[in-house]
Amino acid sequence: MNLYLNQIGAIIWKDFVTELKTRELLSSMFIFALLVILIFIFSINLSIVKASEVGPGILWVAFLFAGTIGLNRSFMLEKENGCLMGLMLVPADRTTIYFGKLISNFIFLSIMELFILPLFMVFFDIDLLSHLGPLLIVVFLGTLGFCALGTLLSSLSSNLKTREIMLPILLYPLLIPIVIGVVRMTGQLLDGIPLLDMMKWIGLTASFDIIYIGVSIMTIDHILEE
């Protein structure tokens, strides 16, 4: 068990050291998310539509698109020079690779989101601070589901030549339940509804998070082997 956690820790450590040196992952995700939000700002007339109605959808579109870039990049690093093969040769259970990548993807996405949220608040002139706690829970659930499925599918598509295209094609349809859940919840939070009144949505999102992690644990062996 100790070794297992140590191996997961080593993968996360390696991803962080790489990112500290290159700063490519965070900066590209951040700039992309920012651009998505800006494009929407300029294409929507906020004096006609209510910001709290369109805002949640735009926010999550920005998170998902930027996150996809992050996932692609994160697995590209593993494929370069056959590093994934090196990982397959160490005496680790394959799920350590999954959990290591899942956690580091999750942390990088969360950092990007924490930078985007204040900008979103300013651009859309929405007060997020009064709902900050519940909002962070929703962001957590959504990001976890995205990373759980995204990490699995990016390891699946990393063997394909058309990786950049295949990942979103596989990922987005399966993410629909989670996206609906978090967008609804974010919208209702902005309308001042307390999180406790959305137990159904929380349940839906959390169950999909768990299902996707479970499916990943069961299939990662076969997916990583060519």
């Binding site: 140590n6 290159t22 370069e80 020079n81 056959g82 590093c83 093969m85 090196g86 990982l87 005496p91």
Partner: protein, 249 residues
């Protein structure tokens, strides 16, 4: 693994990629501490054989045991005992040699990752460059580092796929001495190479792989170098003819 047990037992091993039979029925045993060199023309399936034996690819049929483990089962215990040098370096380009090896040492669960990493870096003569990014390394330096990665955890069984590629005279001497030492310490080694003198020098057994089969497998004592060389060149020439014309051998 008991002392008398075979380190490798390969039985009627086959691997097909579509219609192409990359491994087409290979049988051999390798006792603990034995050194087998596999020669063969390009595309003979040497790399595929190593991939199957190290658990990276599943065989289509047949069986192989390495260190007592069935390779098809993918047991992590087997991977503890093996080290692999392959065509790909399996090194993270944005990390330094020290960081790379510390990472793999931690993945292997070694007690002193940093000390162990520094030790093998020293063995392959990269101490001066241990804190430079691997991305900036030359071909031979990468090869040295991937040797370091493979021997980091002092594996009982080594698979070396053309390990001398890109090494300068000094580095290949280091590698040769190191292999000799490993051989003396009864490590089991399977190496592929295109370099006849290098390959024949250290081994106990020689194989010639042609089109997915061992066309020849002998103890080194029974091998006449000139004869073997002639056979090897014939195999390479025939293979070239088949590759160019598509004729079935």
């Amino acid at each position: 693994m008991g002392p008398s047990e075979n380190a490798m037992e390969v039985r009627n091993l086959r691997k097909a990629f579509g219609v192409l039979r990359a491994i087409d029925g290979i049988d051999f045993d390798l006792k603990r501490g034995e050194f087998l060199t596999v020669f063969g023309p390009n595309g003979a399936g040497k790399t595929t054989l190593i991939k199957i034996l190290s658990g990276l690819t599943q065989p289509s049929s047949g069986s192989a045991k390495v260190g007592g483990f069935d390779v098809a089962e993918g047991n992590p215990g087997m991977r503890k005992d093996i080290g692999v040098i392959s065509h790909a370096t399996a090194l993270y380009a944005d990390l330094t040699p020290l960081e790379n090896l510390m990472f793999f040492a931690r993945m292997h669960g070694l007690a002193q990752p940093e000390d162990q990493a520094l030790k093998v870096i020293d063995e392959v003569g990269l101490t001066q460059r241990r804190n430079d990014r691997v991305r900036t390394f030359s071909r031979g330096m990468l090869q040295r580092l991937s040797i370091a990665r493979a021997i980091l955890h002092d594996p009982k069984i080594l698979f070396l796929d053309e390990p001398f590629t890109g090494l300068d005279l000094h580095a290949s001497n280091i590698l040769r001495e190191h292999l000799q030492r490993l051989h003396d310490r009864r490590r089991t080694i399977l190496m592929t190479t295109h370099d006849i003198s290098c390959g024949l020098e250290m081994c106990d057994k020689v194989a010639l792989q042609v089109q997915g089969r061992f066309a020849f497998l002998e103890n080194i004592g029974n091998v006449e170098r000139d004869q073997f060389e002639a056979m090897y060149f014939d195999a390479v020439r025939d293979n070239q003819f088949i590759m160019e014309t598509g004729a079935i051998g």
